[in-house]
């Protein structure tokens, strides 16, 4: 019996030791985020976002580099930690279409917090997940 209790204690101690401890810092969306988006589980596209808060609005780039797309608008509703992003991006036929994403900011206290949500891009719909680097 004592052995069982000791084992149980050790198991629980191990669980407690893995509780994430982290500290919230600054404006939650600031920084570089990486993840993917796509219409289903097999068709995914890697994405990198760099976002910056100037005190009034969020600005930034999607996939910084030669083919980067500026963020047209992005907001964070801190009452629900709801994130909204819009950008005008070219499709494979060079047709500009609006990309609209809505997600929920999770794990606020973690430096590597995440946003998960859904998007529309022209007629395409899908989901996305990004994690702060």
């Amino acid at each position: 019996m004592r052995l069982k209790a000791a084992c149980l204690f050790l198991i629980l101690a191990g669980v407690a030791a893995t509780v994430p401890v982290s500290a919230q810092q600054g404006f939650p969306m600031n920084g570089t985020w990486a993840g993917d988006w796509g219409p289903n589980a097999t068709r995914r596209t890697q994405v990198t976002l760099v976002m910056s808060w100037d005190g009034k609005k969020i600005s930034g780039l999607i996939n910084p580099g030669p083919d980067s797309v500026p963020i047209a608008s992005a907001t964070l509703d801190s009452s629900k930690w709801a994130f909204h992003l819009e950008a005008d991006a070219k499709d494979p036929n060079c047709k500009v279409m609006r990309f609209v994403a809505d997600g929920k900011l999770d794990d606020l206290g973690s430096y590597t917090r995440t946003v998960k949500g859904t998007y529309t891009y022209g007629t395409e719909k899908g989901d996305f997940k990004i994690k702060r680097d």
Partner: protein
């Protein structure tokens, strides 16, 4: 059946104890205490009447007598021969400052900053508790106090603390401006000047990796602090703080408080080790002997 019930109850009990112990552990992490002291980081922001930072053991070497001479009226604020106020200890003596907190009433938060402030009140996992430096007014809320070192010959004033990592900030008094394109840092870049007997310190260039107080006030890299230090007598310093951060607040806001001087106390060697979750893996620990014949491994 009885055995199973006992096991279930035991499991629940152990779980509750673990959660309670873990919560208490985190609550006591205002700064990890050195060996031999306990709960050192739980100090509330304002000093007690005896002038020592409240909230548990301060370490035998970090204490001090703030009465400044047997409970009588405190001596006048010390000055240099040229009349410049002296904010640190006088020659031949030691002393530390404690306090400098104060509530944040009527803070003009932006919505996100208010939400973060509320979040931090519940989730008090402050970077300071993970050995990050504590910039701005948070420096004065670290355990064990801070030492102010006047260096008129260098036209600098240094403020040292050991509650987090053993570190310091420099206040440049030589009239230089803030550099352009500062690399954001925990302490930022401070320049100071005397306005009568008040030291006015202007600081910018902060990073966002710390909290400027115990959690109620988020900030961004746009943070600009004005701190005013007025030593009103040997044992008392009035501290006025003005916070300007258009990234987090809709307007400037201020607060004031006082610090108490603890004479006959001084900083001591103290190591705060970031991410030290596995001390048993440290080189040379009892669990892991090191072959010291190697010329590479110390």
């Amino acid at each position: 059946m009885l055995n199973q019930r006992f096991m279930s109850l035991s499991a629940i009990g152990v779980m509750l104890i673990m959660v309670l112990a873990f919560t208490m552990y985190l609550a006591g992490q205002g700064a990890p205490a050195p060996q031999g002291t306990a709960g050192a980081g739980a100090a509330p922001p304002l000093p007690q009447d005896n002038g020592q930072a409240a909230g548990g053991a301060r370490g035998a070497r970090g204490g001090g007598n703030n009465r400044g001479g047997g409970g009588g009226p405190a001596a006048a604020a010390p000055k240099f021969p040229d009349g410049t106020p002296r904010l640190g200890a006088i020659p031949g003596q030691t002393g530390l400052w404690n306090g400098g907190g104060g509530g944040n009433a009527d803070v003009p938060y932006q919505p996100w900053a208010k939400a973060i402030s509320d979040y931090r009140r519940v989730n008090e996992f402050e970077p300071h508790t993970r050995c990050k430096p504590s910039g701005g007014p948070r420096q004065f809320l670290t355990p064990y106090g801070v030492e102010i070192v006047d260096l008129p010959e260098l036209k600098r004033i240094m403020i040292m603390d050991i509650g987090g990592p053993h570190t310091f900030r420099i206040i440049y008094m030589d009239g230089r401006p803030h550099p352009k394109d500062l690399n954001p840092s925990f302490y930022g870049h401070s320049i100071g000047k005397w306005e009568g007997d008040t030291l006015v310190v202007d600081t910018i260039g902060f990073n966002e990796k710390f909290w400027i107080d115990r959690g109620q006030a988020p900030h961004t890299e746009k943070l600009h602090l004005i701190e005013k230090f007025t030593r009103t007598d040997m044992n008392t310093m009035q501290y006025e703080l003005t916070v300007e951060d258009p990234g987090a607040y809709t307007a400037k806001w201020s607060r004031s408080s006082s610090m108490r001087f603890g004479a006959n106390s001084e900083l001591f060697e103290y190591v705060c080790q970031d991410n030290n979750f596995a001390p048993e893996l440290l080189v040379g620990s009892e669990q892991r002997k090191v072959d010291r014949s190697s010329q590479i491994v110390p």
